[in-house]
Structure formats: C-alpha cells, structure tokens
Symmetry: C2
Subunit: 360 residues, 2 copies
C-alpha cells in the first residue's frame, strides 16, 4: 500500500537507471546494464549515471578516466564499459532522476549513502541491492535491502548468485537470482539485468536470496582454511555442506518464511560453491592459515584497500548469536569468526566439523 | 518379513565381514574396515577376507603382494592395509562365512559376481553396496542394491558420500551417508565404517543415496567439459546446480518416496561438489574437450585399464529416457551423453545450460 505509486511507475514510459557504486562488481554490472538499456529502450532511458566515490589513480581522477577511456582501470581493468554509463562523483546529482537505483557498494557504506539520499530521490523510485552483508540494528542484524527500503521509503529487491565479477565481465555464462516481493518489479529487474550470458531467475523469497549472499562469504573463509591446511576435496565438500546447513538453520531461526527451495537457486548452492572455489574470501581463509598476519594486514596485502566481506559478516553474526545465547548451534560460523580474530588455532577447525551438531 | 533372520543375526556374537572388490575405493575401505573390526571386536571378527580378482603386477600375483606387503600397489599405492585384511582370489572361499558382504567393484561386474554367490552364502547375511552406477533390467535401469538383494535374497544397504578414495585413504576428514531401510542394520554399518576421519550419517532413504552416487558422475563430466573449454567458477557452478536439479527430478520421476532432504546429506550436494572438482569423471570431461580421442582411448590413457563410470551411467540413463520419451526433461544428462559419444560438439554445451527447462 505504501508503495502504491510503484505499480503506476511500472507502466509509465522509459525509466532512468542509476548505479550507486562502482567497484569490481559495480563495474561488471554497469557493463550489463549499460548495454541492456540501449537494447530495451522502450523500458529504460539510455544514459546510466554511475555514482563513483572520487579517488585518484595514476595522478588522474578515476571518474575522468572512466568517462574518457570507458574502463574502470582500478577495479575492473581490461573491460570496456558502454559509453552511456557515466561516472559521477556527486551522489545526489547521479541519483536525482532515477526511477531505479542499483545499490552495489561495500555494505559498511550503505547506511551513510542512504541517509544522504533520504528525501532527495523520486518518491516513485524502486531500488535493488546487490550488496553482500548485513546492517546492524538494535534488534541484531538487519538485511541491507530492508535498511534501504526503510530509510528511503521505497521498495527494494535483491540480486545475488554465482557471479564472480571478473567472469561476469568477460561474459562467461552464469545464472543469478533476483528476489522481489512484487512480481512486476521482479520482471522489470529481469529485463534490466538479463543477457545471453547472465541468466536471471526471479523468486519472491527476497530474504533468503539476500541471506545467502552474505553468509556464503563466511563459509568460503572456512573452505579457504581447509585449503590452507592442505586438505583435499572431501574435507572441503564437508565444509560446504555443513556451511549450507548452518545457512539454512540461520534462515529458519531468524527469518520466518524462508523457503528451502530458494537454496537450490543460483543464490544458494551455486553461489556457495563458486565462492568456496574462486572468491577472495576463500583466499583470505587460506592466508589466515599460511601466515600469522592480522586481518588488517592481509586486507592491505591482498585487496589493496578494499575489505573482505566475510570476516565482517562473521563478526556481525557472532555478536548476535552471542547475545541470543545460540553460539553452540552455529559452530562453523563461530569457529570461522574466532580463527579470523586469531582467537582459535586453525588446526582446531576440523574438530569443529567432526563434532558438528548436524552429526547428532 | 522375508529378512526375519536378520534381526536375530544382529544380536548374535561377532560377525564376519567380507569385502567383495579391491580396487582404489575397495582398498581404501579395507583400511577402514580392517582397523574398525579390531577395535570393535564385540561386533566383528578380526579376519577380513577381501575378494580380489587375480592379476599379475610386476611379475607377481597381486593377492600375494597384498598379503605379504599389505599394500595394493596397483590400485592404492603408498597406503598400508591392516594385516587382518586378507586378499583371496577365490570369490566363494572369500565369502562363505560372511555375515556382512561389502560390495565395492565396478558396476558392470556386479551381476556376474552375485550370480556366482547365489545359494553359496549364509542366508542370514546382509550386504552393503558401495557401487556407483545402475544395472539394466527389462523395466529400464535398476538400482545395484536392489539387484544384489534380489539375486541373493538378503537385505542390502548402501554407502555413498564425498569420498575421493585417495583422500579417504590418507585419513583426511570427510563425511559419508549410509542408506538402510532397516535402522538396526544402519547402526551396525555405522559401527563398521565410522572412524575419526570418516563420519557416517544414517538415513532410511536408500534409493536416493544410491541414485546420487550414480548420477553425480554424469554431472562431473559436464563440470569437466566447461573446465576444458576455459570457463571459470560461475559457469561450473551453474552446471553443478542444473545437474543437481536434474538429479532431483530424476529421483522424483523414477523413484517415488525419494526425499529432498537426502540431497543435503554428504551423498548429495557434498559428493556432487567434490566429484565435480576432484574426480576422474571431471578429468574425462576436460579431456573430451581438449582431445579428439574416443572414450575407449581416453580410458586406456587416463585410467590404465579401469573404466569411467560416468559415461556408462549416462548411456544407461539415455536409453531409458529415450524409451520413455523424456529426453527433453533432462537436457544436461542427454548433452553429456551425446558429447561423450562424439555426437555433439562440446561448444554446444553452454547453449544447453542457457535454454535449460529449469529457467522456464
């Protein structure tokens, strides 16, 4: 009811799309969206403003590089972006005409960004979050899409799947999952994102789609830990399975209405498997075992300024589980947090698999 | 009712265990079982006869090598077997006293072996199948455990999980799933197989446990195909997900009573993931793309005399689906069969993912 203007917006003429964020994943998505809006001009306006946090790279402004060379040489080098994607360093200027706001930035920045946008965007706009992680509220963790929706008073869908950014940018076939409680918005988002190499399935169980995207990064650290210790595919498969069982339990306990079938979508098992084999959180897990460096040092060394999402999510989960006295129900999540914080020896990790409550 | 002697057998004194088969997996299991029977002497007799097809290796009989050096230097080199595991080249001699028969041999040999055993084993015996694949009956495919049970008139459980043999033999932690319709037999089998590094969960949905073990090898060929074509983790995750969806559909259509929850056990997603990353059927898929050799030539080259299970299962499934006019419901299985048979260009494989009925 609160969003009664939305349905009207859906049957209006071409919509303006704004991308909020421009890192690795944001740039890969900008390539898709920039091309799709041109091909589907009955639905979308051609110019796609992309909000980009201004920084210098090789002595030049990054927005200037993107707008002249059409390449994000810092975060997605080697991939040409469509020329209708325009990098803009001013958030309000980038978003002021938007009918669709695509949020794709590290989860720790989203609250600040939304606060700045509050009251400054179209009231008929809709949002979609591609962000992995949780926000922290007084009741514990909060879904990012809920946070966006609450602050901006607009509906917010999600998109999450087995989508390592570099592979998507190089047009390797993959699947993804769009979560939208409103079916029409779901179909509109499919039109915006789907390509021959990027297949979108739409489900209504938005919460689970988003949960999977946040939690899989925690499990991936666990996969990296057993990699780092020299274990093979069997042990790693056990980590992935037990990790999935904790993800499902987490959804059951904290998000009523979550459906098991959603875990069979790309956002579920497929993303989990891809991230446990190819993602940077897996790499972090491996390095936590092989070096004695702190998380901060590893971030500086491996990500050159970006941050690992997995340890942040693990910490957020840990805080909530501790408060609710549920640490013993999620031993894998807890162990991964403790290992990242250097409070537990990685050698203990296999014991945690061995004694997992799933085995009782 | 037909197995009323079994329950009695379960409360009798120590049982004699016989292993039928002695390849890579058979030898890894012999190590586990040989050690467990010693530690659990109230349940099992110490001497474990292992039927071994006699062959020469480096000019000596393989049984003789195993019984003097306690190592299967042909199929599991580098791993010491417990001395109470005794290789015997005569099937009937190996099995005549057995209370528990562990079947672990390539699926194409099981019918012949069971026919030889018929009427020659204890009527109170029970069996457990570790075999991956199907038998062919007049009604289409038949589960191997059913075949064993039918020919020998004894109950037959199954064991299947994310258990690449080499890793199990080197004692890397993993999980597995035991399927047994009879709970007491299930618990007895858990006592026989479980170790600190080999965790057994018991379920009653035997059919699904066994189905997973056969079908995952087909999906793994698909994973190898996309590996061979240079795709990354996203595309491979889509193959695994769509493969899993076809496995679930196959169970639904052909094996009523199959439970989705069983796919969350080690025999399901975990084994699928491990096999799609580490198994020899994955390797086959990669080689099918990278060379123009026939399946037979690749078998000779890669497996040195053993056979790939995946293509056999794919062929069996194909035959049945064709007869039942269901080829279009399982396009991934069908494409993998056709690519193995060199009737389809591997380049077409990604189109099959793109147009999969799961996406409709």
């Amino acid at each position: 009811m609160i969003f009664s203007t939305v349905r009207h917006a859906l049957i209006m003429s071409a919509r303006s799309v704004c991308i909020v964020g421009s890192g690795n994943w944001g740039s890969a998505i900008a390539k898709i969206v920039g091309n799709n809006v041109k091909e589907r001009s009955e639905y979308f306006k051609e110019r796609v403003p992309m909000y980009m946090y201004e920084e210098e790279f090789n002595g030049r402004k990054l927005t200037e590089i993107v707008n002249t060379e059409h390449e994000n040489i810092k975060y997605l080098p080697g991939i040409k972006l469509p020329e209708n994607v325009v990098a803009i360093p001013n958030l309000l200027e980038a978003s002021k005409d938007a009918d669709i706001l695509i949020f794709v930035l590290p989860h720790q920045f989203v609250k600040k960004i939304c606060n700045e946008l509050q009251g400054k965007i179209k009231t008929s706009a809709i949002a979609v979050s591609l962000i992995k992680g949780f926000a922290i509220s007084e009741e514990g963790i909060q879904l990012i899409s809920r946070l966006i929706s609450d602050i901006l008073s607009i509906p917010c869908g999600v998109l999450s799947g087995a989508n390592l950014a570099g592979e998507v940018a190089s047009e390797q076939f993959c699947e993804t999952t769009i979560g939208s409680k409103d079916k029409e918005i779901g179909e509109l988002l499919k039109l915006l994102f789907e390509t021959q190499y990027f297949h979108c399935s739409v489900v209504e169980d938005t919460d689970t789609v988003e949960l999977c995207g946040a939690l899989k990064n925690v499990v991936a650290i666990g996969a990296g830990i057993v990699d780092g210790m020299g274990y093979g595919d069997n042990t790693k498969a056990a980590v992935q399975r037990l990790g999935l069982m904790e993800m499902i339990k987490f959804a059951e306990v904290f998000f009523q209405g979550s459906k098991t079938s959603t875990f069979f979508q790309s956002c579920g098992i497929a993303d989990l498997v891809a991230t446990c084999h190819g993602g940077r959180n897996r790499l972090l897990g491996e390095n936590v075992v092989k070096s004695t460096k702190s998380l901060k040092e590893l971030e500086k060394e491996i990500l050159k300024g970006q941050s690992f999402q997995g340890p942040l999510v693990a910490k957020e989960i840990y805080g909530m589980l501790e408060e609710k006295d549920m640490l013993n129900r999620f031993p894998l999540f807890v162990a991964i947090h403790n290992i990242c914080e250097r409070k537990m020896d990685p050698k203990e990790f296999v014991n945690c698999l061995r004694n997992h409550p799933e085995h009782l």
